[in-house]
Symmetry: C2
Subunit: 353 residues, 2 copies
């Protein structure tokens, strides 16, 4: 049987390099020295390549925040207790979290998805329920998810992206919430980049030295117990990922298939994107990096994806906050393309001709 996951991966189009080149030509006629808007010009071209048009759009914007719990939290790898996942989802629903504030500021809607939070979520209104289960199993003792579970999570993400594309969203920021999920992201990053657990395991929300040492040990044990094979990305994601991580990987695949740009947030969202790219390499074309977090593994993930972030603000919050801040820059790039005068129209002498 051919699954939604397979058809989606197979339908991702290549980057439209002709559209990108056409956008650069348009930018070269604007009243400014050639390439003087630097990375804004790169973003405009990248968006053209993704959307397949020399008139890219950034006006339809959404942040997808997926939440899930992690069995590995029982190893004591986080500074926060597991119930905070559900509490923060309620905070997202009520509009009081950082991502709500920054998404409002960016003019983006927030789509909150329960991919598998353990505790019952108080105040469900405003939270999309696509839960695959009450948290994953402990990845330090065996696979976090079964293959059917990870496929369900991926396909749920594909569905969310497809719906947003249908509604006219052209740029999706991806963010997450899940106590313990930097441990999962570190394990995935170690497998997909070949780096050691110590090199890709950071401080998460702010743990002390002893907890950090335990976290590195937990990641090391997870790799030993699961024996992940990087030639089998679906198996790796099932063993070491999480419901919200797989869900976001699905969002990346679904968005890429629909020519919707994806702005990655920090370490966990970027590890989800890297998982998607291992499943379908063409999905890389849809990705923009928003910021470089202080997490040790994030740099490795961005390098593996070949993406340079737009912001370097020492963020380490997640939720999609860095992605939301970067949306302003993405939209700025489009507005430059749409609204700036040309040398000819403005009567300005063009030395670059």
């Amino acid at each position: 049987m051919i699954t939604l996951l397979e058809t989606t991966c197979a339908s991702i189009p290549p980057a439209d390099e002709a559209a990108a080149a056409a956008v650069q030509r348009r930018l070269d006629h604007k009243t400014k020295p050639r390439l003087s808007l630097g990375r804004l010009e790169e973003v405009a071209c990248a968006l053209a390549a993704i959307q397949g048009t020399d008139r890219p759009r950034a006006s339809g914007k959404a942040i997808v925040v997926m939440a899930g719990d992690h069995g590995v939290a029982e190893e004591g790898v986080s500074a926060y207790p597991q119930e905070v996942t559900a509490q923060m989802v309620a905070n997202f629903a009520a509009g009081g979290a950082a991502i709500n504030v920054l998404a409002r500021h960016a003019g983006a809607r927030v789509v909150v998805v329960d991919m598998g939070v353990k505790a019952p979520i108080p105040g469900l209104a405003g939270v999309r329920d696509l839960s695959v289960g009450p948290g994953t199993r402990n990845l330090a003792r065996g696979p976090a998810m079964r293959i059917d579970e990870v496929v369900r999570a991926l396909e749920a993400g594909i569905g969310v992206a497809s719906e947003l594309a249908d509604e006219g969203v052209r740029v999706i920021g991806i963010g997450e919430m899940g106590i313990g999920n930097t441990t999962a992201a570190s394990a995935l990053t170690a497998v997909f980049t070949g780096l050691s657990p110590a090199e890709v395991t950071g401080r998460g929300t702010g743990i002390d030295d002893a907890t950090h040492a335990r976290k590195v040990e937990v990641v090391t044990r997870a790799l030993a117990v699961n024996g992940p094979d990087d030639a089998d990305p679906l198996g790796v994601l099932a063993a070491l990922g999480g419901f919200e991580i797989a869900g976001l990987a699905g969002v990346v695949l679904g968005a890429a298939a629909r020519r919707v740009a994806v702005v990655m947030d920090g370490f966990i969202a970027s590890a989800a994107a890297l998982s998607a790219v291992r499943l379908a390499p063409r999905a890389a074309g849809a990705l923009l990096a928003s910021h470089r977090s202080v997490e040790a593994g994030h740099r490795a993930v961005l390098q593996a994806l070949g993406r340079r972030p737009l912001l370097d603000l020492d963020l380490r919050l997640g939720e999609g906050t860095g992605a939301a801040l970067a949306l302003h820059l993405v939209e700025a790039a489009v507005r430059i393309l749409d609204e700036m005068a040309t040398f000819e129209a403005a009567g300005v002498t063009d030395a670059g001709r």
Copy 2:
């Protein structure tokens, strides 16, 4: 006689460290790990210190773009002919330049000021005329300005900042236009930082190797001819600056005196800010750095000012474009402070207590 310049410099208040500390305490109660919003939290605290309140504001925003011509353009240091200064001022007035687009995107008004453009400006509507003269003299042959001219330019800038403060503007971005003005900025930077002309002289709007070598030679000659004394910042600014550079230095002084924050743009605007700080060291407290441009001297200026930029986007346009992009981040910092829920209000467990 006591001048406006002297009274302004004398009236700049010290940074309000108590307000900054109060803002950090407020941030520490928000539903996020302590300090996890990184540099956004720094900006919120800095704004509190500048504005002297634990309820800082970023809603009143303006970009002041000052234009002036430079006698040194006759040395062939730019890729563009001198008439482009006036043409671009007309483009600003018509709303077609990059700064117009990015200021609109940031919700900031643009105040365009003719500080001393050589050619008559077509379409004067929308351009504030505070011209000190038809361009400066060639700084490679003697002082660019007389002392009375540089004081006039500084006081014009103080006046612009005071008016904006009266109108409720709480954050001013500073940008500039002036063919030849990276040469002036390089000369000022060499004197104020003690670095060599070769270390602080870059490619401006995009010059070739031969032109760059000539530009370094021109800066070297300017220092030899004028013999600037860094203990006399007014004399240095007169000898090596420009009307728009002195005007922006005045804006920094006037803003600092009124507790209005100043977001510096690139190399030239930052060199103007450094000039202001040499005239009145307390003015440093009012400064935020928006971006790190590709200009060689910009890094040196930011280091001398002790400021780390928020953005690193390979911009090299000027006009205030980097400042306009950073305004979104400054406003984001304020909105985080105003709009995020506290742990207590949201019912989220606070592990950091």
